[in-house]
C-alpha cells in the first residue's frame, strides 16, 4: 500500500496525539463519575469543567452556556426539536436552508410530520443564503432560524453575523449547525447573535462521539435526552469524561492555532484549486471562492462518476469523498450540489478533498498528479465523454 494521504477531514479527523495524551488518564485511572460526591470524582469533575471552559472560550460563550452531547447530530436534533416544543405557543414555523446537513433536514422533516411548518431557503450558485429571501420568509409564527455556519460539502461559509442580526431584529431564535465551522473559522456567539450552536469533537482532531450545544442563557428549551440531572438537568447520561476532556483540549488547540491554520491551510487549498483548474479540463469548483472553509476543495469533473474516482484514488492511498448517489447510499446525488443548481449528471462527478494542518504540499501535488491520470482514464471509458467528443468533432 502507498502512504496514506488523508484528504477527508470533513468526514472525520485524526485524533491529535496531544489530545489523546490529555484524555488518557480518564480511561483507566480517573474513571470516577463526575456526579459522585467522593473526592475520587473531583478530578473528573474538574476535567469536565475545564473542557467546558476551553470550549466556551473558543466561541466567546460563558461556561454555563455549554452543554455536552454525543455529537453534532444529537445537538442538531436537540436544538430543533426542543425549540419547537418549548416555543409551540409562540408559533410553529421554522426557517432553514436546502443545503443543511441531514441531521437538520431529516429532523425538520420529522417536525413537519408533527405539524410544524418548515421553509427551506434556496441558496445561490455558490451556496450562499440570500438574505432578502430570509427576511421575506419570516412570519409572525416563525420561532427559529437554523442555518449552518459552513457547508460540509462545498465549504461555503454563511453570513452568520447578518443572519443573526435579522433574527435578533425579528426576535426569532437563531441556531447554527457549526459542526464544520467550529474551530475552523472565527465564531463569536455574541457578536453574531447566535442563540444556539452545534459542534462535534471529531471534526477538530478531537474524539468521536462527543459534541456540544451552546445555549444562550435565557433560551428556554428543555431536554432532548431525558433522565438524570447531568448538565444542569438539560442533558441526561453519565458524562463521557475522556471524550469531553479531549474535545476541550482540541478546542483549545484550535483556538491557539486558528490564525496559523487559516493562513497555511487556505494557502494549500488555493494551490490545490489552482492546479486542478489549470490542469484538468471540464472541471468546475463548487462553493464560494471567498467565503470558504480554509480546508475545503470541491470540484465536479464532467463525464465521470464520483465513486469510481474515489476507488482509483484509494488505490493510490488517497482518501477523498464524493456527492455522487453511489456514495450517499441513495439514488440522488448530494442535495447540496443540486441546490446550487448542478444537473444530476454533473453532480455525480463531484470530488471533495478536505485538508488539515497535517496535510503537506507534497501530498497535495501527488494527489493532483494522480487525479489527472485517473480522470483521463475514466473519461476514456465513459460513453458520455465519447458522445461529447463526437459532438465536438
Amino acid at each position: 500500500m502507498n502512504k496514506l494521504i488523508y484528504l477527508d477531514n470533513a468526514a472525520t479527523t485524526r485524533l491529535k496525539s496531544e489530545v489523546f495524551d490529555v484524555m488518557k488518564p480518564y480511561f483507566c485511572e480517573k474513571y470516577g463519575n463526575p456526579s459522585s460526591i467522593y473526592s475520587f470524582a473531583d478530578d473528573s469533575k474538574a476535567a469536565v469543567d475545564k473542557a467546558r471552559n476551553q470550549i466556551a472560550d473558543l466561541i466567546g460563550a460563558k461556561d454555563n452556556e455549554i452543554y455536552f452531547t454525543a455529537g453534532g447530530s444529537e445537538s442538531d436534533n436537540w436544538a430543533l426539536k426542543a425549540t419547537a416544543e418549548a416555543y409551540k405557543s409562540k408559533g410553529n414555523h421554522i426557517i432553514t436552508t436546502k443545503i443543511e446537513h441531514h441531521a437538520i433536514l431529516h429532523t425538520c422533516q420529522w417536525l413537519e410530520r408533527q405539524g410544524y411548518e418548515v421553509t427551506y431557503l434556496d441558496v445561490d450558485e455558490n451556496g450562499l443564503v440570500k438574505l432578502d429571501e430570509l427576511k421575506k420568509a419570516i412570519k409572525p409564527t416563525t420561532i427559529l432560524i437554523s442555518i449552518m455556519a459552513a457547508n460540509n460539502e462545498i465549504g461555503t461559509v454563511e453570513p452568520l453575523a447578518q443572519i443573526g442580526k435579522i433574527a435578533k431584529e425579528n426576535k426569532i431564535l437563531f441556531h447554527t449547525d457549526a459542526v464544520q465551522a467550529f474551530g475552523h473559522i472565527n465564531i463569536n456567539v455574541d457578536e453574531m447573535n447566535i442563540d444556539m450552536l452545534s459542534a462535534s469533537g471529531h471534526k477538530i482532531h478531537g474524539p468521536k462521539g462527543v459534541g456540544i450545544m451552546y445555549i444562550r442563557k435565557g433560551v428556554k428549551i428543555g431536554s432532548f435526552v431525558h433522565g438524570g440531572a447531568q448538565e444542569r438537568k438539560r442533558r441526561a447520561g453519565t458524562h463521557n469524561v475522556p471524550s469531553i476532556v479531549g474535545m476541550g483540549q482540541a478546542a483549545q488547540i484550535a483556538k491557539e492555532n486558528l490564525e496559523e491554520y487559516t493562513k497555511n491551510v487556505s494557502k494549500l487549498r488555493d494551490h490545490l484549486i489552482e492546479r486542478i483548474e489549470n490542469e484538468i479540463p471540464y472541471s468546475k469548483l463548487n462553493g464560494d471562492r471567498k467565503n470558504r472553509l480554509p480546508n475545503n476543495v470541491n470540484f465536479c469533473f464532467r463525464f465521470i462518476e464520483g465513486e469510481s474516482m474515489l476507488i482509483l484514488l484509494d488505490n493510490k492511498g488517497i482518501c477523498g469523498s464524493s456527492g455522487s448517489a453511489c456514495t450517499s447510499g441513495s439514488l440522488d446525488p448530494s442535495h447540496v450540489l443540486l441546490a446550487i443548481g448542478l444537473p444530476h449528471e454533473i453532480a455525480h462527478g463531484s470530488l471533495r478533498l478536505t485538508l488539515s494542518d497535517e496535510t503537506t504540499l507534497e501530498e497535495v501535488d501527488y494527489t493532483v498528479d494522480e487525479l489527472k491520470k485517473i480522470i483521463s482514464r475514466l473519461r476514456s471509458m465513459s460513453p458520455l465523454y465519447e458522445d461529447f467528443i463526437a459532438k465536438e468533432a
Binding site: E305, C326, H344, S380, S382, P383
Partner: protein, 145 residues
Amino acid sequence: MYSEKVMDHFNNPRNVGEIEDASGVGTVGNAKCGDIMRMYLKIDDNGVIQEAKFKTFGCGAAVATSSISTEMVTGKTIQEALEVTNKAVMEALDGLPPVKVHCSLLAEEAIHAALWDYAEKNGIKIEGLEKPKADISEGEEEEDY
C-alpha cells in the same frame, strides 16, 4: 465493500472500448441516476458473439459488471447470452453489496439492448427478448447500510 473479483474487474476492466463495425450496440441507464452502460457486440453469421466491448459511466460495480458481462457473453450464442442474467453476473463477481444490485440489472439490460439493436438491424426476432426499457427502474429497497 466490494469483493476481490469486483475490484479486479474494476481495476483491470476487460474489453473497454468501442467496436467500430458492431453488429449491435445498446446503451442503458441514464446520467441522472449516475449509471450509463453502453455495450458493443460483434455477432457472426452463426449467431455466436465473437467480441464484446463496453463503455461505462458509473460506480465501481457498474464498471465491474460491464467488464465481466462482456467476458461472459463472448463465445456464446444469442440464446445462451440471454441467460447471462443479473443473478449470473452477481454470482460471477462473488456478490455485490445490496445497494449495488441494480448495477447487475443494468448489465443484463445492456446485453439485451445490444441484442435488440442487432435484431432490429437484421430484421429478425429473438425469442424471449423484449424491447429494452428506456430506463432502468430502481425497485430495490436498501436493506443494509
